[in-house]
């Protein structure tokens, strides 16, 4: 009964909304759908722009290590800075409890400078993000308005086109795009890195990141399990033109380490502690960061579900190619066909996360069938891979076993394949098995390579197969 009344009171309370107005940025209400709905039960108004203190930290090729702080309130700071109005501008925004001076933002800028010349602006709103979640979820509206104001200033000052803007937001930061996209039409691109789920999933498009906020919206989902009870922080809902679900989008490899191993990370205790709290959630920007340097290492395969992707139903890429997750997703901008494209791929468990997918079919030869496993390694112009398990169980000569593997490098044109099998128990009859034929299909280019072998080998001996 108490619950009923409290909900009823809440709804009555929400019905008469309050409003705050800030002179540069406009008004913010707490009316439906901003609060008083099932998704957003607690009523909050965003803090003032002064209190949130949104800062724009500019990195360029000329100052990759130290930022220049610029602001649209004093436009002359942009004149004095290294900002180049003829170059693209990429904004990077952090999420809840995080800050703009965190390493991952500036590291992402540095990686961009390796491949392109852009204005890379890290947005810091840490004063507004380190507070109860319900408040931070509303403060992000002001941050979005600040970015919009910044872009409008650029427009007025340099005739800078919004189509040259790329906004990258992690977690709560991704939803700043809602306000920004409403205020400035025609923004070139928005990338949502695991957009926050609580207070946004299931809400109307005006509240959250949506594909109407820019000409092109791509989203990476890495922590999309339900917040209750799985503690997933990211949205599972597809909200962009392209929605990528690496590793299925819910649980990322390398995030299930025991507590000590997780915190005592290779990249230090701080990185480890961050991963301990939100490993899956933070993977999204790590994948993005790696994708800058490995353009073809994150191909998304359009599929109806992750289980279908895993069985190989959606392999290889269609004729037009696969969209690339991360930095180069916009190469697919003009090829978007269906309403919501869900794209699946697998990544590595530690950096470097890039992986290349191949389909392998092996026809066995030999005399007797044994129980054991089959391993295979690919050799090509790009180098050679480590051994990957194709099958485990009963190995029958004459039968064909196929599987998909995600290898750690782009093998290029395949030159040979090595086959290895192993019996799990000691077998005194010393059986011999071989691969008669191995077919390898490359996911990106759809090329099929055939390899043949005539011999059989003992267990734990490599058999080399040549092209045929």
């Amino acid at each position: 009964m108490f619950v009923f009344w409290s909900i009823a009171l809440l709804l009555i309370d929400a019905a008469k909304g309050a409003e705050v107005c800030y002179d540069r940025l406009g008004c913010f209400t707490d009316d439906i759908p901003w609060s008083g709905t099932a998704e957003r039960p607690i009523k909050r108004l965003p803090w003032s722009p002064e209190k949130i203190n949104t800062r724009f930290l500019l990195y360029t090729k000329n100052n990759p290590n130290n930022f220049q702080e610029i602001t649209a309130i004093k436009p002359e700071t942009i004149d004095y800075s290294n900002f180049n109005a003829s170059k693209m501008t990429r904004f990077i925004t952090h999420g809840f409890v995080d800050q703009g001076e965190e390493n991952w933002l500036s590291d992402m800028c540095k990686r961009m400078f390796e491949v392109e010349d852009v204005n890379c602006i890290c947005i810091d709103w840490s004063k507004g993000s380190r507070c109860p979640y319900t408040i931070a979820a509303n403060n992000i509206r002001v941050v979005g308005a600040e970015v919009a104001y910044f872009i409008k200033t650029l427009q007025a000052k340099y005739g800078y086109s919004p189509s040259m803007i790329h906004f990258i937001g992690h977690s709560l930061g991704a939803h700043a795009a809602a306000e920004m996209g409403t205020q400035v039409p025609g923004i070139g691109r928005i990338t949502g890195l695991d957009p926050a789920q609580p207070y946004f999933q299931g809400t109307p498009p005006i509240v959250r990141l949506d594909k109407n906020d820019a000409d092109f919206v791509d989203v990476i989902h890495t922590d999309s399990a339900p917040t209750i009870p799985n503690l997933g922080f990211g949205m599972s809902q597809a909200v962009g033109h392209l929605d990528f679900y690496p590793n299925g989008g819910e649980y990322m490899p390398g995030c299930k380490k025991n507590i000590i191993s997780q915190i005592v990370d290779i990249d230090g205790i701080w990185e480890g502690t961050r991963d301990f709290v939100a490993c899956n959630h933070l993977r999204s920007y790590k994948y993005y960061s790696d994708s800058i340097l490995y353009p073809d290492g994150f191909l998304g395969y359009a599929c109806a579900g992750y289980n279908l992707f895993e069985t190989g139903t959606c392999f290889p890429c269609p004729q037009g190619g696969c969209p690339k997750m991360g930095h180069y997703a916009d190469e697919f901008k003009n090829k978007i066909t269906s309403e919501f494209q869900k794209l699946y791929l697998n990544t590595g468990d530690a950096k470097i996360f890039a992986r290349w997918r191949y389909k392998i079919s092996i026809t066995l030869s030999g005399k007797s069938s044994v129980r054991g496993y089959i391993h295979i390694a690919l050799y090509g112009t790009g180098g050679n891979t480590r051994q990957y398990q194709i099958f485990k169980g009963k190995l029958n000569p004459g039968e064909t076993y196929s599987n998909l593997i995600d290898v750690e490098l782009n093998v290029g044109t395949l030159t040979k394949v090595k086959f290895l099998w192993n019996n799990n128990i000691i077998n005194p009859t010393l059986p011999r098995l071989g691969a008669e034929k191995i077919t390898v299909q490359d996911g990106e280019h759809r090329n099929v390579f055939n390899f043949c072998g005539s011999e059989t080998v003992r267990e734990d001996v490599l058999q080399t197969l040549e092209p045929c």
């Binding site: 507590i259 050679n384 490599l462 080399t464």
Partner: protein, 111 residues
């Protein structure tokens, strides 16, 4: 202090009780801290330098750097994957300091 200990014990108990195949002492995944290779699923407990912490790591593929199987059980370069031999010299100093490094090669192919 007691609280920390209790919390640690609790988390240990929880980790042990989890039905998944991951382990705390043995059956460790890649990237987890280890003291000896027998703890790792991959069979290699690797550290970069004498001072750094050791973690379970993938064994070395063909043409990658490797060391022979060693009694210490902790490696600066992992031993090779099955079917490959580590083409490294045996030296006395290297034997003691575990620094006889070579390249993984396929013994069935003449080099």
């Amino acid at each position: 202090m007691e609280r920390v200990l209790i919390l640690l014990l609790l988390s240990l108990a929880l980790a042990e009780a989890s039905p998944s195949q991951k382990g705390l002492i043995v059956n460790l995944d890649n990237g987890e801290l280890c003291l000896n290779s027998f703890q790792c699923k991959s069979g290699c407990c690797n550290r970069r330098t004498g001072l750094s912490l050791a973690r379970c790591t993938q064994k070395a593929a063909e043409n990658q750097e490797c060391s022979h199987k060693h009694i210490y059980g902790v490696y600066y370069r992992c031993p090779c994957e099955s079917g490959l031999t580590c083409d490294a010299d045996w030296t006395i100093v290297g034997g003691i300091t575990n620094s006889d490094f070579g390249i993984c090669q396929d013994p069935t192919q003449s080099h």
